[in-house]
């Protein structure tokens, strides 16, 4: 099997050399392309054809988040492992949302970086321990304070049609009931939701996910 090609984007020259050495020392990997920022990264990627990119975030002028964005747009199969000091949510999720495949903190042992490359090549998503935890925490359900307005099924049904832009008349036809009954239901719904009008009810229903779907 041919050696996998690795590109490095890191503005600290010493660190860049170090990573290059570390990775190049294995005969599984070959470093091709080593840059201090993401200027013209698309051209570089076309030239280098890397399998994996090691990407710092904080680089002058052209930063790593931009880099992830442009590379992943054109080369979604090129793996990108972030390698950075930042562990704030904002940058983390900015990278992930643009398609970063891994996120390793610089404070971790440099062997992590080496393993991360292997892991990402075998279809995984290497993350530093704290990062993975942070990611999982975003899935926690925020135990909602029972925003239960005791809407009946019928009321939910009618509210849902309202959110779809149905007029009272159309709702009546859809539900096979008279427009007067629709009025009655909506009147009750507005009271239960403590709102004054349809638009407010729709906003509340969507924002608080009151509907079953």
């Amino acid at each position: 099997m041919n050696a996998m090609i690795i590109s490095i984007y890191e503005d600290n020259e010493k660190l860049r050399d170090l990573i290059e050495m570390l990775i190049g020392s294995s005969n599984e990997f070959m470093v091709k392309g080593s840059y201090p920022n993401t200027e013209n990264i698309l051209k570089n990627v076309i030239k280098d054809q890397p399998d994996v990119i090691i990407m710092d975030i904080d680089m002058p002028e052209y930063d790593g988040i931009e880099g992830v964005k442009v590379v992943k747009k054109s080369f979604p199969n090129t793996k990108i492992v972030m390698h950075t000091v930042f562990d704030d949510d904002e940058r983390l999720f900015a990278c992930l949302s643009h398609g970063a495949d891994g996120y390793i903190l610089k404070k971790d042992a440099s062997s992590s970086l080496f393993n991360a490359i292997k892991e990402v090549l075998s279809g995984g998503a290497p993350m530093s321990a704290g990062i993975a935890k942070r990611v999982l925490q975003t899935f926690r359900i925020v135990e909602k304070p029972s925003n239960n307005y005791h809407l009946t099924d019928r009321e939910k049904e009618i509210l849902e049609l309202l959110t779809k832009g149905f007029s009272y008349r159309m709702i009546g036809i859809e539900c096979h009931i008279s427009i007067e009954t629709v009025r009655r239901h909506l009147k009750n719904i507005y009271q239960k939701l403590h709102v004054q009008c349809g638009t407010e009810a729709v906003a509340k229903a969507i924002n608080e996910k009151l509907l079953n779907n």
Copy 2:
């Protein structure tokens, strides 16, 4: 340092014994509590006081997802590592949303399970490679097809007030413009959004995140 206490929930007796042996063989860990399902898990946890729980998902009667839910509700600091054959999104995210700290597939080497326990104890979130990848993928921004309706700033402002339940009149007062102008703006907004009425516009604005906040 005292040995960390591990509990095991796994309905396959042979596998349960195997895990028990594997983990108990280390003097870092001590297995206390080993059960074929999550019946009375709360009582068990109170009795065993485990630091980490290894939890299968598919168990008769009382399954692992229920187990995660009830344990994490009362003991959020007790770490739970799922150990299962399932890698479908539904079960995965059901576990994560209730607070599972790790997710290891049974097909992985049993050493993974051992390492996972160490990792979760050191504040990490151990996941099998494919699982981590799946998790990261949920963060990808679905490159929205430029749902840009070319609303002007003023129009967005007015649409936002509408979503807050303001009447035309109130919007006029809020923006220091006549109600006729409000009507005019809304008329344009409805055309741009291809909707017929306020409720539909509000639903579209919220669902497609057309507003700046």
